[in-house]
Amino acid sequence: MLSKVLSFGLIGIDGYAVQIETDIIGGVPHFDIVGLGDTAVKEAKERVKSAIRNSGFEYPVKHYTVNLAPADIKKEGPLYDLGIAVGILSASEQIKTKKYQNFVFIGELSLDGTIKKVRGVLPILISARSLGFKNVIIPKENEEEARFIDGMNIYALHTLKEVVEFLNDETEHPIEKIQTRTFDEVVRESNNKLDFENVKGQAQAKRALEIAAAGGHNVLMIGPPGSGKSMLAKCFSGILPDLTFEEALEVTKIHSIAGELDLKKGIITERPFRTPHHTATTVSLTGGGNHSKPGEISLAHNGVLYLDEFPEYSRQLIETLRQPLEDGSITVARAMQTITYPANFTLIASMNPCPCGNYGSKDRECKCSPVQIHKYLSKISGPIMDRIDIQVEVDNITYGELNSTQKEECSADIKKRVDKARAVQLERFKNSKTYSNAKMSVPQMKKFCVLSKDCQDLMETAFTNLKLSARAHDRILKVARTIADLEGCEEIQPQHIAEAISYRGLDRKYWSI
């Protein structure tokens, strides 16, 4: 007998339909899975065999051939287990109705017949819906992440036995499709996030991060060890605007594929904050690889990628950030396939001013030679610097500042200003693909960053007197635009330009001597 069961596979963050064809013929007992499966797929036969027997069904000793079509795309992971089991059971006529033909099956099987959670349920459901599939059976453990998909009949089931009973209409109690939830119902909880309230001093850095959050600018923080760069960065995600539903779905999709989703919550409500260590490999950052998973920069999509000790990362790895920083996505081309993952993140990088970290410090002496300092700084190439709008210096704070009782502004207050500035930008860029000032294209800059005579004069004197490099020009304009937005100004004023220039510390000449 031949049966055909539907399941789904993933390329990048999009799903595609996979047809599981099962043929049972008499002859020498044998089980073969064809269709370019990886080891996890090949091993499915052992799991399926035991799961069927241990669920109280019969596993006829015959010759089985299972084909996963389309046969030329590589299939990965154990999510086809359930589909294969259903295929065998219907081919051996233990599933009596044809109801299964309308369903998509996703799930890994345990030897005792339990359906276990799998990666990538949310993206599969989204793709299935857009491809016109209506009914899906998913593992019970993945129930929460499926709740945000409306317009589909999704059933979250525990065991293989339950699935068969459901398909045979033999269940004791009717099995309901899962209840959908709306995004607004989700409680947004800020899980022990650091608050700017707890950071003493560092007024300039805080202001710089506020601007960065408001305009989506990338930031480089330069300062000696122990000056609080990491702490500032960790506070940063607390002042970013809340995720919208679309953004949250995108983020959740990527995390679901990477298997990093908290299954109890089902959806991610917080902007991600990723901090890969500087020993990270290029593939772990970009994604792809053998099991084509999204990398750190995609997991930071719609959130923050924090690279501490920036020059310690390998040169090649830093350079791979160039395309994603520009396009907001990364295309990983491998021999087998080409995958595009979204990677629209804000980069926060921090570094010491020199190998020993004390260059320019007031109270500690730097022991590095000028060559060492030059080499250290030049690890960050020009093109990368070009993509970082704000460079801010952070200095050690004194004991007095540390103990001062002065109340610092809390993140919630800063966030209100950020939200307002973002709203201005969304209004400005509606009907275009830009969302923030940082991503403005050249024509958009010409249109929205018009400088008055005063501003132009200021720019000109600034360039000659401060010896700013040419690449600083556009960065300054973009940041000035954001500062104006924060203040609610239509036009960029001279003081906005002046402030924007103060965030170009590294372009100054004293860094080069």
Binding site: D395, I397, A498, I513
Partner: protein, 358 residues
């Protein structure tokens, strides 16, 4: 260019030490190379290796070609026999017998003044070096230094910035500028001032060439100013040579707890150097007319005045200014930048700001 010049050029290209060349000058009468090889003293002066090298490398055509080549590159070769040889050097006991020059040789006849110091100056060192260099250059002194990192670079750059004349004396050949980051600065100096070396263009810097170079720095200058230097700095050599040659030495006092000011403070304490508290001290010492700067009529607003007032007591960091002035951070940022653009204050690494005193 006579035989003696050719002889010296060839010897310098073979990297024969200065002292041995002097010995040749004492005993030789005929400077044609054939005569040199035949002369009995040659084998006493040169070591076996050097002798073989000189003999192996001597080829009149190649020598002519490389001299021509240097000329084409704009390099002027001045030997001790040349009229252009600087008068300040001619009587020195360890004078360089040959000088390679790029730029305006006449600068050496003007009043030259060296500004030297540590390769890694503190913020204080940077600020005062710039201040002294600018002011002295504007008073008409030609600023001499060694094109190294730190004080040297700042002295050259500041001089060029105010349109002054500067001489860079380097411890390597012109094709091997050290440090490499200063190549563009060297090019600018060659255009607007003078680049000088006693080594042929293909000569690479060696450990011992830097102290050697310092004797020329001290030699060509009427006086030497040390702005900031520690006891182990190469500046010690410049000072020693300056003492030996009887030049005026000035030192800027520094913080006694800072190891980078040890040498300058020590020189002042032991009365080896004049204490220079401001560029005026040097200007008056040499009876120069200081270019009177027109006080720019600056209109500062209240906030800006407050910042300037606070910085009068020395450099301060951002958080200090924010706390004392109570100006909101965004306004403070833009005020500081405006002041910086106007040239009133200076931003130093690590959020520190200092007043540019005039």
């Amino acid at each position: 260019m006579d035989l003696r010049d050719r002889f010296l050029i060839f010897m310098s290209m073979c990297e024969i030490p200065n002292k041995k060349q002097e010995k040749f000058l004492e005993c030789l009468e005929n400077f044609s190379m054939d005569a040199v090889f035949a002369h009995p003293m040659t084998k006493k002066i040169l070591s076996v290796d050097e002798f073989l090298k000189v003999e192996r490398e001597y080829d009149p055509q190649v020598l002519d070609a490389s001299i021509q080549n240097m000329k084409n590159c704009g390099i002027e070769i001045v030997t001790v026999f040349s009229e252009k040889y600087p008068k300040s050097l001619i009587d020195l006991p360890d004078r360089p017998l040959i000088l390679y020059a790029k730029g305006d040789m006449s600068l050496l006849d003007e009043k030259c003044f060296a500004i030297v110091g540590t390769r890694m100056p503190s913020n204080y060192g940077k600020i005062i070096t710039e201040k002294f260099a600018k002011c002295l250059a504007e008073s008409g002194l030609v600023i001499v230094s060694g094109l190294c990192y730190g004080v040297d670079s700042i002295a050259h750059k500041s001089t060029l910035e105010v349109g002054g004349k500067t001489i860079a004396i380097i411890g390597s050949g012109f094709n091997h500028i050290y440090p490499a980051t200063n190549v563009s600065l060297a090019r600018e100096i060659a255009e607007k001032g003078l680049l000088l070396s006693e080594y042929p263009p293909s000569f690479e810097a060696k450990r011992y060439t830097f102290p050697r170079r310092n004797r020329i720095v001290a030699g060509v200058s009427d006086g030497v100013l040390i702005t900031e230097a520690g006891m182990k700095s190469g500046t010690v050599h410049t000072k020693e040579f300056a003492l030996l040659y009887g030049k005026d030495i000035f030192a800027v006092p520094g913080n006694i707890t800072n190891s980078k000011s040890e040498l300058t403070n020590h020189l002042i304490k032991t009365a080896q150097a004049e204490c220079a508290l401001s560029p005026d001290d040097i200007v008056e010492f040499y009876d120069l007319t200081k270019k009177v700067q027109e006080k720019k009529a600056l209109s500062l607003n209240f906030d800006e005045q407050m910042i300037v007032k606070l910085l009068e007591n020395g450099e301060q960091n951002f958080d200090f200014l924010a706390e004392k002035t109570k100006i909101p951070v965004n306004i403070l940022n833009s005020c500081l930048t405006t002041l910086e653009i106007r040239g009133l204050i200076r931003k130093l690494p690590a959020q520190t700001y200092a007043l540019v005193s005039s």
